[in-house]
Symmetry: C2
Subunit: 202 residues, 2 copies
């Protein structure tokens, strides 16, 4: 593919869930000729995952060009984010400017708190589903789905579902062969069916 690399922006916050972010990063990292990945947070600087992984980030407001893709992880840190008006404003703006938005796990609860998922179908971590529902009463939450697509929004179920969704997104955009090559390259047994959710609780 002969074009300038697109940009993926990962939105980090303290106590994000480690694999929510780094699963999709691993997948998109195999498309380094197509995408550069930037790691951003509200203030920039070091942001720590809930497992103590301290990651250097850029300030979100330093992202001037519109991202091709925004990735929003979940995790216990979403609980503080949804009560922080500044976080919600910055996230909403970034999501509006992005061509595509992918949330993992309770990242959809965080995105729902911006209002951007109102009237749309979405899913999330099944264990935290009640909390997620409470963040967006106008969202058509799907209790049984590995991931859900509605317009430019891809929302996945818990943690490792983000890997399946990232591969699904690549399959949709670049073709199933590209997704399958990446899955094989990381020796990952891809659950490629968005409707196949063995962790649904209802």
């Amino acid at each position: 593919v002969d074009r300038d690399p697109g940009s993926i922006v990962a939105f980090l916050f303290d106590d994000f869930e480690t694999l929510d972010l780094f699963g999709p990063v691993e997948v998109f990292g195999h498309l380094s000729k197509l995408y550069t990945i930037r790691y951003c947070s509200l203030e920039g600087g070091i942001v720590a995952s809930v497992h103590g992984v301290r990651v250097e980030t850029e300030k979100m407001s330093d992202v001037v060009d519109d991202p091709d893709l925004l990735i929003v992880p979940g995790g216990i840190g979403t609980r503080a984010c949804v009560t922080d008006r500044t976080v919600l404003d910055v996230l909403r703006s970034a999501a509006e400017r992005s061509t595509w938005v992918l949330t993992v796990c309770t990242g959809s609860g965080l995105l729902a708190a911006t209002g951007l998922l109102d009237g749309r179908s979405a899913t999330s971590n099944k264990i935290a589903f009640d909390w997620v529902r409470s963040q967006g009463r106008g969202v058509r939450w799907q209790p049984k789905a590995r991931w859900v697509i509605d317009g430019k929004y891809y929302t996945s179920s818990g943690v490792s579902a983000g890997i399946d969704m990232a591969l699904g997104f690549i399959g949709d955009i670049l073709g199933i062969n590209v997704a399958e090559q990446i899955a094989a390259g990381i020796e990952y047994i891809w659950n490629h069916d968005a409707d196949n959710d063995s962790f649904a609780v209802e």
Copy 2:
């Protein structure tokens, strides 16, 4: 379990493979009452994964107490590590002092270069298997295995196999129910059979 937390040391180096490390970190992170995880490198400071994730690390020599568990990821950065005598010495010492050692992907090639796997069974990423073999002619490399256990050494196949192995290790040490609870908590479809390797090339 009523005891002081044990310590897990993750050994980072530039251009490590992102998911090799953060898959197992996610799994062990769910045992935060049992283990603290320290992120270490030869010199300390910021270390970047091959996908540009910049992680703050401690200096390996600052780890004074013997680790319960050492995690060694793989990735293209292993190629530089195996020609660096200082890295090999530090890694060998840490591995000797650790109760258990887990390597993911080409991390076993790096560990093999220290000589510690000589005479033992081990496995690795199947795509990079020739390079891995060349790092340890005295190792009984297994071309078909999701992961291999030999004494205190657990070695896994490529990238996401590290998640399966980490769960397998926990199953061995703490019981299968603990491993299954963690897998369910991260909505991960666990390949729990170390001999089930659908990515073997021979």
